[in-house]
């Protein structure tokens, strides 16, 4: 096995297909696009199963969504364009062609160029984009057993006609890690645009072109999640390097990512000719985008993650590192802002504390449960209360950590503490007896204290243990000092 050490000679270009899941209907017909979990072929109509005589009509919202993304990515939007037919036979394509955009033969993509900035250990890097365009999703094929052994193919057209955006990068990605970071940033931008929820199953498909400099490239198809991309690329690089090491000739080919075996396999498709005979789709009239319309959408566009990160640093005094983590997931960032702004007295100290709870214990809980913060019953006010209780010394950090799980399920912090009997003990009489007991039982520490005043902390710790973390630290300290001096 070859260990990949240098990535400089690796060339990767990605084609990312993203479903615009925030659309209610398909691209060219009024069928609902919320087909997930439905029985096969129940979200279909004559248009999306390609019945003769049916005519497509463009979803206006799809154009608006594509424009949002094009602006966010810095693409040059083509103001005049029309759709093409891409012709090939495959069971997932009921019409025998896919309606898409084409940037040759007089055609134009939706947007040209654009870029995504990614962070590397060595600094920042711009991943340049070639273009983005809109097209319709094919149907879904179901194989009995594996794709190879299945005696026939079953076809479900519920997905057929759902709006996809294809994002094509230039071949400027130099490692699987860069690819992963790029996809994370892209996902964040798409989330901020409000056009898709890419956590939905099957909402993302990636094709990757990958080669070692000076050798033939392979195209890996069927990568069905952003996480899998890095894995597939790593595997393929290893395969290609092994070939080169053994002086075997790599051939240009299409390979298929088998995510259960986690390998890429060369597939020989039946009757496959890469001649798509693109020609303009005459069933759809041209699109002409007015400058004023583009400007209007631009003004509606929410703040993008990069700008928000800089604002978080300025407005809340967070570090670049902290702000970056917070803004990556828009839901977390929104939650954060609602929390910090709900309390007038909060300042940079509390801003930082809130940030720590969100990126620490709360994010950890969400990751473990594989949930989004919007799926939980946790409210910003509850986290604010948590921070306030810690700040006022009414609960300890330790108690706070122990109640996060219940808070995520919607129980208010004060209620949890009441139920668990965990609240601050501030009653001096009660604390006095505890302090006296601790002093009696720890004469060694008292001796130590005479030369080392920091031994007092150990005594406070003992009092905390006695009270399961509920003793008020300030009063305990005062009382302990009083008794020791006596």
């Amino acid at each position: 096995m070859i260990i990949v050490t240098s990535h400089d000679n690796i060339i990767i270009g990605l084609e990312i297909h993203v479903q615009l899941t925030k659309l209610k209907t398909k691209l060219f017909c009024s069928c609902s696009s919320k087909y997930r979990g439905a029985e096969p072929n129940t979200y279909v109509c004559p248009i999306c199963i390609g019945l003769p005589g049916s005519l497509p009509v463009l979803n206006e919202k799809a154009v608006e969504f594509a424009m949002k993304l094009a602006i966010a990515l810095g693409c040059k939007i083509n103001k005049s364009m029309y759709f093409f037919r891409k012709n090939y036979f495959y069971p997932d394509l009921p019409k025998g062609f896919q309606i898409t955009q084409y940037n040759k033969a007089g055609g134009k993509a939706f947007g040209d160029g654009g870029k995504v900035i990614i962070k590397k250990k060595s600094g920042k890097k711009e991943i340049l984009l070639n273009r983005i365009h809109i097209e319709e999703d094919p149907g879904r094929l179901v194989h009995k057993g594996s794709i190879v052994s299945s005696p026939y193919t079953l076809v479900d057209y519920n997905r057929s006609g759902v709006c996809l955006i294809e994002i094509v990068t230039e071949p400027v990605i130099n490692s699987p890690e860069e690819a992963r970071e790029f996809l994370n940033q892209l996902k964040s931008i798409i989330q901020y645009c409000g056009i898709a929820d890419l956590d939905l199953e099957g909402s993302v498909r990636v094709d990757a072109n990958i080669s070692i400099k000076g050798h033939a490239r392979s195209e890996i198809k069927n990568i069905n999640s952003f996480k899998e991309v890095q894995r597939a690329l790593k595997w393929e690089i290893r395969r290609q390097k092994n070939f080169i090491k053994r002086n075997k000739l790599l051939k240009q080919e299409t390979r298929h990512w088998d995510d259960s075996r986690r390998v890429t396999v060369g597939l020989r498709s039946k009757e496959f000719e890469k001649d798509y005979r693109y020609f303009p789709e005459q069933d759809l009239v041209p699109i002409e985008l007015k400058k004023s319309y583009i400007e209007k959408i631009k003004n509606y566009l929410p703040e993008m993650p990069n700008a928000r990160m800089k604002r978080f640093q300025n407005q809340y005094g967070l570090s670049e590192f902290d702000s970056e983590i917070l803004v990556m997931d828009k839901d977390i960032a929104d939650f954060y802002e609602e929390a910090v702004n709900s309390e007038k007295d909060f300042e940079s100290k509390e801003y930082k504390l809130l940030c720590n709870w969100l990126k620490g214990d709360i994010s950890r809980w969400l990751n473990l449960q594989n949930k989004k913060i919007t799926d939980t019953d946790l409210t910003p006010i509850q986290v604010v209360n948590l921070v306030k209780l810690i700040e006022e010394g009414r609960i300890t950090g330790k108690i706070a950590k122990s109640v996060i799980g219940d808070m995520m399920l919607g129980t208010p912090i004060k209620k949890i503490l009441k139920q668990q009997g965990k609240k601050r003990i501030a009653d001096e009489e009660k604390l006095s007896s505890i302090c006296k007991k601790v002093i009696q039982e720890n004469s060694e520490i008292i001796k130590d204290y005479k030369t080392n005043p920091r031994a007092l902390e150990a005594l406070i710790g003992k009092c905390m243990k006695e009270t399961h973390g509920q003793a008020d630290p300030k009063i305990t300290r005062k009382l302990l000092l009083e008794y020791i001096e006596k």
Partner: protein
């Protein structure tokens, strides 16, 4: 390109492969003649000087931006969708396998 070369044996083989048609030699010969006639007929357009005419991409070039609102409507039932399908199984359309053996 001369008219004879346009639909050579290779071209016929190629386009029949793209169209997934298996043709006999007699059919190929027939089609070659017919397609040549059609193409020759279209060559009449070459008689016109179109050097100053912009390409027509759509017959309705003055109609633009025909849109639909993003509001779902009821489509076909599963039975309706499958009623003309010669092969079906468990609510799916059934198609031949897609990979070579």
């Amino acid at each position: 390109m001369s008219k004879k070369e346009e639909f050579s044996q290779e071209t016929i083989d190629y386009i029949s492969k793209l169209a997934l048609l298996e043709l006999t030699d007699a059919e190929k010969k027939d089609l070659s003649t017919q397609l040549n006639d059609i193409i020759s007929y279209f060559h009449k357009l070459d008689d016109l000087d179109t050097s100053n005419v912009p390409p027509t991409r759509h017959p309705l070039e003055n109609i633009k931006n025909v849109y639909r609102n993003d509001i779902p409507t009821e489509g076909l039932s599963n039975e309706e969708a499958l009623q003309n399908a010669p092969h079906k199984k468990e609510g799916f359309f059934k198609a031949p396998k897609i990979l070579k053996d």
